[in-house]
Subunit: 179 residues, 2 copies
DNA sequence: ACGACTTGGTTCAAGTTTGAAACAAAACTA
DNA sequence: TAGTTTTGTTTCAAACTTGAACCAAGTCGT
């Protein structure tokens, strides 16, 4: 199968996407590190908890919502617990499980820092987008996320090789590597 | 200044964006780690070099194009050099400077792994987008990237606080933290 | 019940990233 | 030209991430 390289339009889109997401994440990370003393991911974890019933979630659920591995979450929660923003509790129904609960202090940090965070996101992203673009953004990434998640209605058939460490696709490549 | 929270549309777009970018980066990282033995960033560095005249670039330029800090690049290049994919040279005009040059082996790795990489990007992203969406993607992120980069024609006036570690924006927040 | 598999979570070592501090070589400046 | 500032890059310690290995505690089939 001869490689289907990206078209010029796709290349431009891909490069713009890569550059922007990099810069955006960096900027948000710096802002939150500054104002909340934690990286974006940790902030999202707190935010996720704050929106859950009882402000608590089992580790696996929290990991899933945050789109990160369990391992990574374990570390993150350990840090947040050390800072007193989260408390670990045992799951009553399942003795294996443990749940992370947002503490009052954690909630306070969230409330104190949320405005600055939203302002940043707005200033860097949404204030530059027209309502149509916001809709396009949602449309595009909802689809992409669905494709990357488990089941995907619309793709050949529950067989997405990239999620199962595909074997390298051979073929000669004197063309642009697409970065 | 009372916080301008995200509208429901913006929230949906933001969440979809966050989820998708996370999953996408992870998937690409795994694919490249598998097939090329390096994370996406390192691959991009090689790709960047391969497209530069003489297949070499000064550290600062390379860092800028890759949208990463000099510090991070130093480490990355050290690793790539250890693997024999990149060679460090002294800059002849500026004794402070050093340049990174892609070795033949590095180029070979790139050529060998590019097809698989493109196939992944395509399968996870572009194959799900209509030509219009590709155009929208480019439009949106080109603007965002421009805003995050240095000068920004269209913004108030060379004074983007988020790039200079803004002081926390105060204000009470019983509203959603926007994750 | 019993053993075999699955699930929920943590741990460990190795690799990566970060920001600040350190340096050295330019480039100004008086 | 000496002194100061800027620029290019590395270094260091601390924080974070990764994937594989591990340990329970459930679940299932018989």
């Amino acid at each position: 199968m001869t490689t289907r390289w990206l078209t010029p339009e796709e290349q431009r889109a891909w490069r713009a996407y890569l550059a922007a997401t990099h810069l955006l994440e960096d900027a948000i990370d710096r802002q939150l590190q500054q104002d909340a003393g934690m990286p974006h991911l940790y902030y999202s974890i707190l935010a996720n908890l704050s929106e859950s019933p009882e402000r608590r979630l089992r580790m696996t659920d929290l990991a899933e919502r945050s789109k990160i591995t369990r391992s990574r979450l374990t570390y993150a929660v350990a840090r947040l617990e050390k800072d007193g923003l989260v408390r670990r509790e045992d799951c009553r129904w399942d003795k294996r499980g443990s749940v992370a609960a947002l503490t009052d202090e954690g909630m306070a940090v969230l409330e104190r820092t949320a405005p600055g965070h939203v302002e940043t996101v707005r200033g860097l992203l949404f204030d530059r987008l027209s309502p149509e673009q916001v809709a396009q953004l949602e449309e595009i990434f909802t689809g992409v996320a669905r494709g990357l998640q488990g089941e995907d209605p619309g793709c050949p058939s529950g067989d997405v090789p990239w999620l199962r460490r595909s074997a390298p696709t051979p073929g000669s490549a004197p063309d642009p590597p697409c970065s």
